[in-house]
Symmetry: C2
Subunit: 337 residues, 2 copies
Amino acid sequence: MNRVLRAADALPASLAAAFMLIVVSVLPASAQQALPSWNETGAKSRIRDFVKATVTEGGEAYVAPVDRIAVFDNDGTLWCEQPFYIQFAFMLDRVKTLAPQHPEWKTKEPFKSILDGDLKAIAKGGEMGFVELGMATHAGMTTDQFNQIASDWFAAARHPKTGKLYTDMTYLPMRELLDYLRANGFATYIVSGGGVEFMRPVTEKLYGIPPQQVVGSTIATQYAIVGDVPVLNRLPKVDFVDDGPGKPVGINKFIGRKPIFVAGNSDGDYEMLRWTTAATKPGFAMIVHHTDGDREYAYDRQSPVGKLDKALDEAERRNWLVVDMKNDWRKVFAFER
Amino acid sequence: MNRVLRAADALPASLAAAFMLIVVSVLPASAQQALPSWNETGAKSRIRDFVKATVTEGGEAYVAPVDRIAVFDNDGTLWCEQPFYIQFAFMLDRVKTLAPQHPEWKTKEPFKSILDGDLKAIAKGGEMGFVELGMATHAGMTTDQFNQIASDWFAAARHPKTGKLYTDMTYLPMRELLDYLRANGFATYIVSGGGVEFMRPVTEKLYGIPPQQVVGSTIATQYAIVGDVPVLNRLPKVDFVDDGPGKPVGINKFIGRKPIFVAGNSDGDYEMLRWTTAATKPGFAMIVHHTDGDREYAYDRQSPVGKLDKALDEAERRNWLVVDMKNDWRKVFAFER
């Protein structure tokens, strides 16, 4: 270790703190300390066993750090998606904010139902109504402006059941899992059907995942000069839908490497689960199964949001870990006592 | 430093090598040792001054490591783009390889001219002919298959003037610049008009840039199950053109953060240069000016490939560094004696 010690001594004082952080992050997270909000069940063991095998040099299942890519769905996997997607709540609030500039919305669906507070009627607009809602609330500004709009909304908007900020509605065990994987050399990515620019303002703070590691649905943008300043305008046009079969497409497009770890919770993640576990390298897949109606919500096959049916049917056959939130998680949210 | 030393002692032996690498990479590259293939001219000083200011904690121009994003054009900025784009050479070779399966190409442009070896006639096909050429040579296989095709081609294809492998046609001073920026905490990205899946198989080896840090033009892909195996099929359809005004769009889409350092060489980089230097954070922009007809090629305003006109006109006014290859670079290619 002599050369290491000399190198450490040679460090300018200003770098000492950064150096310490790096030393700590190099040390593999102890299997005993990791994942404290997970109960000592089979789910936790399987995750630990996979990670241990992956990082054991010389072992059959060893994977070089550069290939340790882990991808996570967001809605229902990292944060709560009930009673509706968080981004849908954002859309509803945006419609109310923008309504004074759109008198025509008083008689036009789906805007009329939103302004009337009749959420059930919104579905009547069908898919086209939903796309129109998305464009009306997500386009027509620059990327910098939208970033600010989303950031401001997250700073104040609250979940209708818990009254907590939406940014508090993340699953503590999953955040621990992200930390655990990173401590073991994994790069962690979000691969979500949600809008990439809706998530990016908060993912670093919530999950330790920087903007460039967020893959999601995108809206078309266009370069323009305003005054003498270049901007990107958000156009009312869908560019890419990162859901279902779009998820492997998105992973390939943005990351360009097959992940070896994938976590999802719905049939929207099915293709991503298939693709990751079919890789030539060892692939680990897990499904967060929402079984806890007391601490969170209980739903799967019949749920309009986060429907989990086909992926649940095939999980055992394909060796996908199904995490039972009620039994496998000691805590769901950090704010629980 | 006591805690650092204890941490070092506690490291398992297997981690010692990794630890050493990290210690070394934390140390800022000495300004004296960095960029050895750059002459001691103003260009080198300006780059060094910018980097020093960026990493100096407490300084006015300090930028946190998380925001140290550097983006590089590829063709003509990191590797040679004359007498034609390297990806164009790939297309020509692909046409010859695939010709036996396409008897109709004997009479159809631009394929006929390629098979006849009449490169000048290819341009007659115009833009549509070029798109058709791209699709015929880049689509119709899975992503894994294309990766292999590109890798095999790079292993053997040689530059028509130097006789060197195309993978040897990278600019040594630019590779040193990538290393220097990374040693100072920058994340380095390619943002190229080239096909992302054409570049990704070689960027890590050539530049130390992993696949997930390569932004480029993309072809549409589609998820499919073949037998019981999921694949992504490459479709004959352009998904995204990462050139000109598409470059800021691509940076925003893939990286989601404004870079603070940008390097390009042609008007195809103009918008990316504008966008980076208009950021609120200090932005550094440089243009590689091809002035050396002996060691490489001399071209700018009139060149059909890599035309540099508007960006050159505005460089001084916008404080963009223009690197004069002939005077600022001691060496262009590593293979030079």
